[in-house]
Each structure stands twice: as C-alpha cells, then as structure tokens.
Amino acid sequence: MKRQFEDARGNRFEVSSSPAADGAHSVEILRGEGAVRQDARVRRAPGGEWLVEVGGITRTVYLSVGQNDTWISSLSAGDSLSHTVRLKPVEQRRAGRGDANPTAHLRSPMTGRVVVVHVAAGDHVVKGQPLLVVEAMKMEHVIKAPRAAVVLRVACAVGRQVEGGAELVELEPEQA
C-alpha cells in the first residue's frame, strides 16, 4: 500500500511496502530528492516504541497517530535528520477538502481577549492573511486564514473576552 504524508512546510513523503524474504518487508521511501528501497523488519517494544531493523541494526522510533496528525520521532544521532516531525496523511487532507460542508468556523485557540479585528463580513481573504488578534497570558496571537475564503460573519468584537474554543469568525472557503 502506498501512503503519502506532508510535513508542516509542505514537503511530501511517500512510503510503500511489500513482503520480502524471511518475514522482512521491502519498503520504498520517496522523498523530494528521489526513492530509496530497503528491506526492513519492525516490531513493538514494551513501552510501545517501534523497533526498526535494517541489515541487523535496530533503531527506535516513536510514532503516534492522532485524528489529523501523525507524530514521529527518532532519536538516533546517526540520523542527522532526527527529532520529532508532525505529518499529515495526504489522503485524509484531500478527503477533508472535498467535503460538502462549505463553511468553516474559526475558533479561539485559548481563553483571552480580542484586541484587533482586521476583517468584516464580505471580505475576501487569502491563505495566511491575518484576521484578528487574541491576547492571552500577556502574549498576542495572530489568527490567520487557513485558506482563501470569504468572511461570512465576525462572531466576536474588540475588547471582548473569549473562551478557548469559542467561535471567532465564520468563513466560506473559495474553491482554489
């Protein structure tokens, strides 16, 4: 099975595997710079870590699959590319975007106070455009448009306290 993932910077990674000799699997990894094929075994350690063996050498990987994100960490210093990475399965993102539900409710990431509102109903916004600013714990946080959209409704006002999870803005995504 082929599976594609995307990291926070938009880099894509594709993995696929097929059974090989002696209970190992032949895995193909496709990065931007090209494909690598390796015969590997994987087993579960007592604490839930994954032990990945290639050519008799075992490395430890921490893997957590959440609703939207897959988190993965490998601690081997031998890997210059170590540490925690957050990936999204590409299939899932596509499915999400194709949904029938045309409106999106942006909610506050924290309990705080709205200090600036940059947009009004009817505005067209582009991906990453600042919509408003929420202040909490002495820090200001800029809430940006997750993608190109039309603002349907601003559900908050400057100076108002908002609970974490409270709706801030309703958007209608524009088909890109």
Partner: protein
C-alpha cells in the same frame, strides 16, 4: 506546619508538593474542572476542586481556595507563581484565616507593587535605577521637561503594564507627543490606569536578576544571579546562572544591590530583584521586584546547591538563614541552563496549543532535571499558560551545560501538540548564543515573527516505521487517556480550533 495548601497548578504545584514531602509535610493541590485529572492533582497527597475552568472562578477565587484549606485542615498556604501569588489581599486573607503564608507579608508586598513606588524604594536603598519620570503633567512643556530629565533614547510605558504592551521607544523630542498619545490609548484600554512612565532606554540591555531570601528575623541574603536575556516577545525562554558576561566585581555589585533592596524592605521568603545590565557601560539598573518564587529558580538551585522551596518552607517555619546555610554559606559551582518547553506551534506563529499528549518522554539523564506539569495521556487545557515543562541542565562550564541540554532536548518526545523544542535546539546551537552575545531583543530580531519552524525532515528509520506500522497499530500510545480537551474535538478538519490539534481521546 503540618499540611500545605498549594494555590497553583502545573509544574510548580508538583514542585512544591515534593518539597513538602521532603520535610514530611502533607500537601493539598487545588484544581479547576479543566485540571480534574492533572499531574499536580496526582502528585499531591490530597486534592480539592475550587471551581470551573475559568481562572477567575477557580484559581483566582480567594474564598474557594481558603475553603479548600479548611476542608483539608491545611495550616499553611504556598502561592506558587502566577494567579494569586503577588496579591496582597490573598496574603492578608490567608493570615486572617489563621494560616501560615509562605511568602512575604502583605505589608511587605504592598509598597513595592507599583513600578514607580518600587523605584523610589530602590533609590532609598541606594540601588541604581535608570533615569525615569512619571508623566503627571501632560502639557507639551511638561512632557519635554520629563524627557529632558530622562534623556534619549527613552521608553514610554504604561505604569500598570506588563509584557511590553503599549511600550513605545522614542529617539527624538519631536516623536514624543504622538508616542505618548498612542501609549495612553493602549494603557486606557488594556490596564487599570492610563498613567504613563518615561524611562531611559538601555540599548542592548541584558536581563539579570538576583535571587534573594529573607528570614523572619530581619536577615536577608542574595543567592547570586540569573541571566534571562533570551526572551521571545518579553517572555523568558532560556535562563541561566551565572550570568556569563559579568566580571567578579560586577557580579558582587549586582548581587549586593539585590540584597540591599531586600533588606531595605524587610523582605521575608524567596524573591527576585530584577535588573537591566548595560553591557557597554557595565552598569546595572533596578527594574522591579518579584515577590514570589520565579519559574527559573531551578538554575539557581543547580548552581548553588540549595533547594529554594524547602528553604521557603523552613523560613515560614521560623528558621534563621544563618542556621540554614551553616558556616560555609552559599557558593556557585559550574553553570546551569533552563529552557521552557511550551505547547505552541512554530509553524503557525507560535500560537498556543492545547490537546491530549499522545506520548511524552522527558529526558532523565544525569545532571539534567525536568520539572514537568504534564506526561503521556495528560490534557493541555486551553485555559492556562501553555508551558509543559522546564528542563534544566548543569555542566562544569557553560559549554558543557549547553551540550547536555542539547542532548536532553534531542531525546525529548512530545506527541499530540506542537512545541517550541525545534526552536530551543536551534537557539542553543547559534554562535551568538555560544558567545552569549544576546540581549532581551536578540531572539525576536533573530527570528522575526515566524520563528525557525520545523527544522527537520523525518529520518529513514521514521519513514520505515511509518510504512510498516499501520495507523491502527500505532494509535495505542494514548489508550488510557479519557478526558476530552476542553471543547469537544471537531470532526471536520475545516471546522476546527485554529492552530489547535485536539488529539483523538478515544483512539
């Protein structure tokens, strides 16, 4: 003192419960509904609910906190930091209820709460302050006189402000009036008062603070200094001790200033006197005093070999400083660095993150300490400060401490919410950090508003695991997590909390 109620949450509440346990004193945690199963609840002997998630109705509700003390028979209150820790009304209410207040009495706190009043106290104590003036006369002539007194460049600051909010830098007299007008507007909307302060701007200043201790018998000492210059938007991110740029004489002078201030106000308990240090003129200037334990107290503990929370408890029990430290007194040894691990998304402007921690592995290496508020399965609520833990590394010198911290951060695993760990690793490897050529504006200037984002791509081993471990198999990590992350997790990826990943509590 038989049982201490801890009026806080998160890592500091866990820290205080541990100090109580060392002395054989019972501990009582308090919790809001958002923290019903939190780590600080589990690590205390007993725990009592004080209200709903909103701080104002729980952790900030003096009556509810005192009721929890009564219910459990606690005979003392430790305020931690944040929340009610610097509120003189709370200190008084605790004392009025016949309980021991583990901190300075209200009478000590009150006169130094305002920045202006504290500066007056500093001058009276012979502690250097930067030139400053309160803007009482808002006429143009009055403003000009004040600015001439203070000197340029200067900062216009709301007197009741904090976190750099409403602060304006002014380099020339002609920019003064518009800057004052803008600052007044911000102050009026954000703070209790629109009163402003002019203060000389110390360019390239470092934040150096002195830990002090006072006992109930009039004695006060300093416990050396910390350097907290690595800040993001006025929030400390990396702290260390000793300050790497001070000469012995400069260290002695700034520490003596801290002690003199503490002694002048009759300080009792643990506190911190904050200074700006000008790396050009080599002068230090009093900033303010924090009349509580600081987040960054562990770097002092690591270097000096003194448990500050145990010391707070002993001072509250009436111990004399001279007995506590013995004839050898206190010395610094080696170097310690602390990093604050925040749940915030470096790929999205460092927006705070909340959700279920699907897996957490804190480093448990020698000479590394972790003060954690969260572990695997815990929920980071949306309602409070997003600090997950502090990691403190000690070394014989600053370079060894830095290497040890890098190793510790590289073996830290946090899944479920994004953290600032990639940024911390990046900062610790910067030549500017290695040479300690930093000041309070360095980090913001270095990264701009976006931060370093995620600096790494998944390793081959990681992608092999991903290929061979089915998503179904891999989800077992947080199987025992039962609590939802505040608001229910939205199913539609579009209809979600901005920047917030609510982990699948039931996956």
């Amino acid at each position: 003192m038989k049982k201490v109620l801890i009026a806080g949450r998160g890592e500091i509440a866990v820290r205080i419960a541990r100090a109580c346990r060392v002395l054989g004193i019972g501990s009582v945690a308090i919790y809001s509904d958002a923290d019903a199963g939190a780590r600080h609840v589990r690590k205390a002997d007993e725990a009592v609910r004080v209200g709903p998630a909103e701080s104002a109705l729980s952790y900030l509700d003096i009556a509810a906190v005192l009721a929890a003390a009564r219910l459990t028979g606690a005979d003392a209150v430790h305020p931690g930091y944040g929340f009610l820790s610097e509120n003189p009304d709370f200190a008084s209410a605790v004392a009025d209820a016949g309980l021991t207040w583990i901190g300075p009495p209200a009478a000590v706190i009150a006169p130094i709460r305002s920045k202006t009043a504290a500066k007056d106290v500093a001058r009276a104590a012979g502690v250097p302050t930067a030139p400053s003036a309160v803007l009482d006369d808002l006429s143009e002539a009055g403003l000009q006189a004040a600015a001439t007194h203070v000197g340029f460049p200067l900062l216009v600051k709301p007197e009741d402000g904090g976190g750099g909010k409403g602060m304006q830098r002014v380099d020339r007299m002609e920019d003064l009036v518009p800057a004052v007008q803008a600052a007044r507007r911000v102050a009026a909307s954000a703070f209790a008062s629109d009163r402003l302060l002019l203060e000389r701007c110390i360019e390239g200043a470092r934040h150096v603070e002195v830990q002090v201790l006072g006992d109930q018998h009039g004695d006060a000492v300093h416990v050396f200094e910390r350097d907290c210059s690595v800040q993001r938007r006025h929030q400390k991110v990396i702290e260390e001790s000793p300050c790497p740029v001070l000469t012995l004489a400069e260290r002695a002078a700034i520490c003596e200033s801290g002690r003199a201030f503490a002694r002048h106000v009759g300080y009792v308990g643990a506190g911190t006197v904050e200074f700006l240090f000008d790396p050009v003129s080599r002068a230090h200037y009093f900033l303010e005093m924090n009349t509580r334990l600081q987040v960054e107290h562990p770097v002092t503990e690591a270097v000096v070999g003194l448990d500050l929370v145990v010391t707070q408890l002993r001072i509250a029990q009436g111990a004399r400083l001279a007995e506590l430290f013995g004839p050898e007194g206190l010395q610094q040894r080696g170097h310690a660095i602390e990093v604050r691990v925040y749940a915030e998304d470096p790929a999205d402007g460092y927006v705070p993150q909340a959700g279920t921690l699907q897996r957490v592995v804190w480093p448990d290496a020698p000479m590394v300490r972790v003060d954690a508020g969260f572990e695997t399965g815990d929920v980071v609520p949306v309602h409070y400060d997003p600090m997950l833990a502090k990691i403190i590394a000690w070394g014989r010198d600053r370079e060894e401490a830095t290497l040890r911290m890098l190793a510790a951060l590289r073996e830290t695993v946090v899944h479920g919410v994004a953290t600032n760990i990639p940024m911390l690793i990046d900062v610790l490897q910067q030549p500017s950090f290695a040479r300690s050529e930093v000041n309070t504006g360095w980090l913001d200037a270095f990264y701009g508003t976006e931060g370093p984002g995620y600096g790494v791509a998944p390793s081959d081993a990681a992608l092999l695991a991903l290929a061979l471990a089915g998503p179904g198999q891999a989800a077992a990590g947080a199987a025992s997590a039962r609590h939802a992350a505040g608001p229910a997790a939205a199913r539609d990826p579009w209809d979600m909390l901005v920047g917030l990943r609510v982990g699948g509590g039931r996956s």
